[in-house]
Symmetry: C2
DNA sequence: ACTACAATTCAACACCAGTCAAACTAATAG
DNA sequence: CTATTAGTTTGACTGGTGTTGAATTGTAGT
């Protein structure tokens, strides 16, 4: 192994993690959003970003935001792998609820070592996704692509299987859980009211209505059409 | 709960832990031994001790060593509880070997919270001792007394059950494990050669000879004499 | 009582991660 | 094209934990 030994302390890892997640959409992560996510002031984040840039972990365009360097990505993915494996472990082995695991995983992700990571992976059966459905990076630092699509981007009538509930908000997760909307559940999109209106979805058991903000968090794998029907 | 919130960071907890363990014999912990245990220079430890004294966590007699205040003891015992519970968990649930768990427990002991501690305690069945036999402090911060005595302090011929292997030395633990000398095992003290010589002990399976340094680490609960034989 | 030595503390400094308040962009509105 | 403003950076400082090296203290030996 190599990309390891240089003072990768807690703070550094949390910054890289945050930057990675904020720039998943392709846009650089801004100082403000990073600061908010980490609970520090923008000035603090700004200083820290400069330090990370000095260490070649992020590429910094002043006043424009930060993106990770390949080095930074590698380290971030390792932390994210540990976070997500820990989440699986905390539910499978320790009996936590799916809305409780994020904070524990966050605390643990920077203190476990490779040996511990490997052990968790083995015990949990090398899962490919975390309990919320996020893909777990592989040990060698790659992130397998997935066919997930936003439920609300599908035409009404679409059915499929939920693959991910894309949030770490505790209350929302608990709510989704109560509704039975979690990875593995079958859903059908009934309708989307226009202009940010309510979204109606049904599971085999019930039909329910969600605000768009929540509905947008649902990622599904749509059913394959029965045959090779074109058009 | 109360004794909690004031910046009890990593370093503080590790110091209190170290001081507690070094002063278990009644003697104050010296600056040098603390420094050595924590891997810092004596000057660093000295400074830190003063700070801990300012916070009323240790009582400091300059040039003479440090002992914990009741406050400090309480916090130290909580950390030690977490450490030892983690050790049990790491073996029982995660399948680590008994000589591997100390370092992992050390890394984790300062980051888990009360909820996590309670969960581990529940999963492991509220054990009263760690895998090496050290007593686990109770949740309310008391340390139940135990009847352990040093094997080498017993007269030759004494039989009993090993209750504790009192070291965290990885190699030694591994060696003890290979010999089957671990808590729960029956042993009989055969002989102790004078002037720090070899100690011969036997288990139901075999007879073996240990250096005094190792033999001193074995704590047993001697068999009760068959009846109320006086003398 | 004096000396020698080890243990300890002190002084000065360094590093990291943060704060607040002030200065500075970059983009937008008029 | 300037004025405003939201977002960002800088400067000066703080708190926490360390280091090195010099000064100090305690203790044991003669």
């Amino acid at each position: 192994m190599d990309t390891e030994i240089r003072s990768l302390n807690d703070a550094t890892l949390h910054y890289l993690d945050a930057i990675y997640r904020l720039s998943e959409d392709g846009e650089p992560a801004t100082t403000n959003t990073i600061a908010e996510k980490l609970g520090v002031t923008p000035s603090g984040a700004s200083i820290m970003l400069k330090r990370l840039a000095d260490r070649k972990l992020v590429q910094l365009k002043p006043y424009k935001g930060a993106t990770l360097t390949p080095q930074g990505v590698k380290i971030a993915l390792r932390t994210i792998r540990r976070h997500r494996l820990l989440e699986v472990f905390l539910i499978q082995v320790m009996g936590f609820k799916w809305h409780e695991v994020d904070k524990h995983a966050h605390a643990l992700e920077t203190v476990i070592d490779q040996e511990f990571e490997d052990r968790i992976a083995a015990i949990t059966g090398n899962p490919s996704r975390c309990p919320h459905g996020h893909v777990i990076p592989t040990r060698d630092g790659t992130l397998p692509p997935v066919p997930d699509v936003k439920l609300v981007a599908c035409p009404p009538g679409t059915s499929g299987v939920i693959r991910c509930i894309d949030t770490d908000n505790v209350e929302w997760l608990e709510y989704f859980g109560q509704l039975g909307l979690m990875p593995g559940a079958r859903v059908t999109l009934k309708s989307i009211a226009p202009y940010g209106g309510a979204v109606t979805v049904s599971t085999p058991r019930e039909t329910m209505t969600l605000g768009l903000q929540l509905a947008e968090l649902i990622l599904i794998e749509p059913d394959k059409p029965a045959g090779p029907s074109s058009k």
